[in-house]
Amino acid sequence: MDAILIQILNGLDKGAAYALIALGLTLAFGTLGIVNFAHGALFMLGAFCAVVFSKILTISVKIKDESVTLFDAYKEQPYLEIWFGDFGAAIVDWAVPLSLLFVIPVMILIGIVMERGLIKHFYKRTHAEQILVTFGLAIVIQEIIKHFFGANPIPTPAPDIVSGSAAVGAFFGLSDNLVYPWWRLIYIIFSAIIIFAVFAFLKFTTFGMVVRAGMADRETVGLLGINIQKRFTIVFAIAALVAGLAGAMYAPILPPDYYMGMDFLVLSFVVVVVGGMGSLGGAVFAGFLLGILQSFASMNEIKSIIPGIDQIIIYLVAIVVLLVRPRGLLGREGVFED
């Protein structure tokens, strides 16, 4: 029982990342009709925003370590601690959550620049060409990051207070052995909030209404005298933002390296296809579903029956779904059918 609950939590955790990336991918598909292979790179950029932010906060000065008396020892102390004392130390400690404030403007800017600068010119081109140019862009972004940050993963710790494990079992009156890392729980809740925010934004605002109308029939909305293009640019920025936030919050779970985007990209694409191209609900649903399936498949009991299943379960599910339900689980008719 405990093992199953843990696997569900693990699955939700992985699925949360898939769902957030797939959500952004689907937004770009549904509105702009763009197959964005650089979306994984945006996820990675978000994670590196957190890295940069915590680096800025921890700009340090070398001072003499007074606790060592035998010889002259030096230690690094962040300026923030020197200036603000304990409050400064707390800010340094909370670097990752605070970096979200930094991620938001940066990712929106990147999204807008990317859409205006590159994606805009590819609306009329074939999907194959879109895939190719964004694939090239992903390589470029990766290599730039690699040039500045090196190829090794950069550990970016979560705040001290949430670095331990939460007694999930005891909270629900189950076994005391059932514990789960706090930060991962926070990630699940965080992604739920983001997903709800995006849905609410599309559902309850006028802007969202126009965007949804545009997704359904771009031409008619355009004929009604609405500048749908401008709104779609903002939607692309939102998609980039969602990927960036997902990446920044994921940094404590998986130390960011320049290649992390590619790994997530392939899986997220599969998630989008399983959920149904252009269906936001489908993307989220399939993200969590595949995350949970994957974590169950990596249980030892299951691996002993079907060896290697943990490696291929996602692809296997994708193949089966695509063959049985060509439009994906919740796909709409007429989207991306050529």
Partner: protein, 380 residues
């Protein structure tokens, strides 16, 4: 001049002459050493095969590296189990990867467009993950599959061929050591296979079969409405390009007998797409040019480093020199992929037809060759 190039025989003659004399005319640009020449031939073959699928039918596969990997593994197992003669390995690798392509293509081709790309990607990633994990007894996992001195080699021992010396035996082609002639035999071996592969591709391009594939690319719905079943043709193209990939993989093994799973990763599939696009999709010779250009630039750029850059730009004033080196440095050495990515983006944006389209444009600019030829790949 143009009419001459309409004839297959003339094209093949020119092509063979150009390929076989490559060590001579590539000498001035510093590309004349066997290792690089072999890469040109192998990846050229891979890209030419890939082009039969992507160039003719427009189906963008992101999983062809899997067939390359299957071909490599098959060839190594042949060397281990049967004989050090690479002939058998090459044949078997082509057949086995063809069978794989048949199975994967049969399923993937039930969908088209981006769904097809994702399906092939999923299959290739599955093959890659399995090669790393469960199939370790066959693929030897991360270490990669290698030949050893004490492999059984039943065919060799049956025919009474004994190992000539101690240590790991070397691959041969009916007695000719692949590594002989300072490795140039390896190149000529690959070059001959490339020429054969090119001939087959030429035949396909100019056959009714190739024409049908192009018709599918331009409008599949219309083909279906005229009562034409497109599936078998697509599948045939998929299998043929998969066999090319397996063949290329087996030649890699023939020259250097080891195989690793990283050859099957999806970025490796991406590389062949890059080559094809860079050279020119749907043209006969373009993919080969693209493969050669990428491998050549990789060789040049990844070898450069800071001090060499400083030398190269030493004719500039000091301040400008430092700035130039600072700007250029990320693009060379380990950052070579940055150059590749940017070049690739530029090509897709400004020159969707690749280098071959660039040639055509230049030709038209200077008034040669009048108009663009009626069908692609004809004027080459």
């Amino acid at each position: 001049m143009k009419n001459l190039f309409k004839s297959n025989a003339v094209i093949m003659l020119v092509f063979s002459a150009v390929v076989l004399t490559a060590p001579i005319w590539l000498d001035p640009i510093g590309a004349n050493y066997p290792d690089l020449l072999q890469k040109f031939a192998i990846f050229g073959l891979f890209a030419i095969g890939y082009n039969i699928l992507f160039g003719l039918t427009g189906y963008l596969s992101f999983g062809h590296a899997a067939f390359l990997g299957v071909g490599s593994y098959t060839a190594v197992w042949c060397l281990k189990l049967f004989t050090m003669n690479v002939f058998l390995g090459v044949i078997l690798a082509t057949i086995i990867s063809g069978i794989f392509a048949l199975a994967i293509g049969f399923i993937s081709l039930r969908r088209s467009g981006i769904y097809f790309s994702i399906l092939t990607l999923a299959f290739a990633q599955m093959a890659y993950s399995l090669a790393y994990s469960v199939l370790t007894p066959i693929t030897n996992g991360e270490t990669g599959l290698q030949i050893a001195a004490d492999d059984p080699r039943y065919l060799d021992s049956m025919l009474g061929i004994t190992q000539q010396s101690e240590g790991i035996p070397s691959t041969h082609f009916f007695g000719f050591d692949i590594k002989s002639m300072d490795g140039y035999f390896g190149f000529y071996f690959a070059a001959v296979v490339l020429i054969i592969g090119f001939y087959i591709s030429l035949k396909i391009f100019r056959s009714p079969f190739g024409l049908k594939l192009r018709a599918i690319k331009s409008n599949q719905t219309r083909m279906t409405y005229t009562g034409f079943n497109t599936k078998p043709y697509l599948l045939a193209a998929f299998v043929i390009s998969g066999m090319y990939a397996g063949l290329a993989g087996s030649i890699m093994v023939a020259i250097d007998p080891l195989a690793g799973a990283e050859r099957m990763q999806w970025t490796a599939s991406g590389e062949v797409v890059l080559m094809t696009i860079l050279g020119g999709v749907g043209t006969l010779i373009g993919p080969l040019v693209g493969a050669a250009v990428i491998k050549y630039l990789e060789n040049i750029f990844s070898a450069l480093n800071n001090s060499e850059l400083t030398n190269i730009f030493s004719w500039l004033p000091e301040a400008i020199q430092t700035a130039t080196v600072y700007i250029v440095e990320p693009f060379v050495g380990k950052g070579w992929h940055l150059t590749l990515g940017s070049a690739f983006m530029l090509v897709v944006i400004f020159l969707p037809g690749g280098i071959m389209e660039g040639f055509d444009r230049v030709k038209n600019l200077f008034g040669f060759g009048k108009k663009k030829s009626s069908s692609e790949g004809e004027a080459k």
